[in-house]
């Protein structure tokens, strides 16, 4: 049984540092997305502009990955995590707390970015349900990936976790076709791109905004379903909170 109070409390403990920091909103809604968006818009041809806009939305979602892994790394470094984990918390409750915390930290900023892009005419939202589906899939899969990355690496030092999570975040952002369609990649790299989750998350959000990335929807849905099931199973069955120490 999941104790929802516990999940809520864990999420608040992790999210409040961000929610109380005005600079964070500036960072995630303006600085991070638009410092990449603006130069890309300047150098890219007009037909790529919608891709760049969707890529910017994906970039804010990738923050879920970084936060999930780095929150745990910082907590372990400062030994704060022991205070939570020596209380009667189940692995599922802890994970749900982290998941909810990421939603609180990231989704409002993502929505603000979408609104800005929509008002600026860079995104045309055709299917709001599909857009929400893409956002939720992105939030869930990227958070769970960050969580597993952190738990897998937590026996190593803090710097290693940061380097690995930054490297993965870089791959998720730029090695996957999120700022550009699949056809821009070399033939050999396209297969690799299919394996990166952000390719498929961008594909769903792109479809909601009437952009064609060139990835068949059946592959996207099948891939995301399998990946989400696999990652959830790993999280709930294989990883124990003791791995955090």
């Amino acid at each position: 049984m999941v104790n929802l109070y516990r999940v809520y409390a864990i999420s608040m403990i992790y999210a409040l540092w961000v929610l109380r920091n005005k600079l964070f909103y500036l960072y995630l809604t303006i600085l991070l997305p638009f410092t990449i968006l603006v130069p890309f818009l300047i150098i890219a041809p007009a037909r790529l502009e919608p891709f760049i806009a969707v890529g910017t939305v994906i970039l804010t979602l990738i923050y879920c990955f970084s936060t999930a892994s780095q929150d745990l790394a910082v907590d372990r470094l400062l030994k704060r995590i022991a205070i939570i984990l020596t209380k009667p918390v189940t692995p599922l409750e802890y994970f749900l707390g982290i998941l909810l915390s990421n939603a609180m930290q990231t989704l409002p900023a993502t929505v603000i970015v979408i609104m800005v892009l929509w008002v600026a005419g860079l995104i045309k939202i055709g299917d709001i349900t599909l857009l929400l589906l893409g956002l939720v899939a992105g939030w869930y899969i990227l958070t769970i990936m960050g969580y597993i990355t952190a738990l897998t690496l937590l026996s190593r030092d803090y710097n290693t976790i940061i380097i690995v999570s930054n490297s993965i975040a870089f791959i998720l952002t730029f090695m996957a076709p999120v700022y550009y369609p699949l056809e821009f990649l070399l033939e050999q790299l396209r297969i690799l791109a299919y394996l990166i989750p952000t390719t498929h998350i961008a594909n769903i959000i792109g479809k909601a905004c009437s952009i064609e990335y060139g990835v068949p929807p059946t592959i996207t849905y099948t891939y995301l379903l399998i990946l989400a099931s696999l990652l959830t199973t790993i999280t709930l069955k294989s990883l124990k909170l003791k791995d955090v120490y």
Binding site: W17, A82, K242
Partner: protein
Amino acid sequence: MVKICCEDLWKIYGSGTVALRGVSFTLVDESLVILVGPNGSGKTTLVRIIDGEISPSRGFVSIDDLSPDVARARGLFGVMPQEARLHEYLSVREYLYYLALIRGLNRREAKSEASRVIDDFMLQEYASTRIEHLSGGLKRRVLLAQAFLGSPEILLLDEPTVGLDPEMRAKLWDIIMKYARGRGSMIILVTHYIDEVRDMASRVLLLYKGQLVFNGDPRELLSKIGYKYRVRARLRGSKVLETLPLRLHHRSGDVVEFYVVDDEELVKLLNYLAGVRDWVLEFNVDRPSLEESYLELIKSLESGGGGQPL
């Protein structure tokens, strides 16, 4: 009645460091257990195995016949980890409230429990202050306070007063002892300030290089030093020593220290000193400290004698 049973605990870390070497003991219905030992002797590792944070490489722990994981899940523990930082962007009240929710209380209970702990630990004045703005001593008090949320049956406190001034330490000991007396919990306390809590301790566990070398009540540890009283006397000349009825342990200038093994010997010595009082400028009687006994035992272990692992 709480029972903690540790059987042949070994802990070998990935780096090859052996932190515990076959530690076994049973604690039944103790009030305050002091866990002592030199730095690196395995105290924190033992605490972390008992509370289920880490698993032993060999052996097992049971708490009321439950595994540490199950005991933790049932909320039997309150733990104050060594050196842990707090989530400092929260106020004291928020932090304790969220941790009370994590402890399994509902919102109303958590609110009242946070208030109770704030009162007990004299944090009322700082309840709305963000933890980041508190002094080191107050942060330590919050870290300790969170362990008491939900009135757990077992409290594992890893050096709760380290780095605090004597006044603050005295306050915290007072709070801890009041709690132990009032709630009937078992407190396992890792501390280097053993004499500050010796009168309240029901048992002392001494770890040395990962082995349990002493498990008994504080009086038993005190007896390890080999004497019950220490009499310090400042003498005029050395005439007094010629007919002394006791062995002279140590003399430094005109100050002589006698080590007295029992009450009878003490009476004998005092009578003797009264008889030669013209030659005695001053004297005082005190008891050896627990720390001295502990250091004596460690010294004998380091020189290879006594203190076989239990």
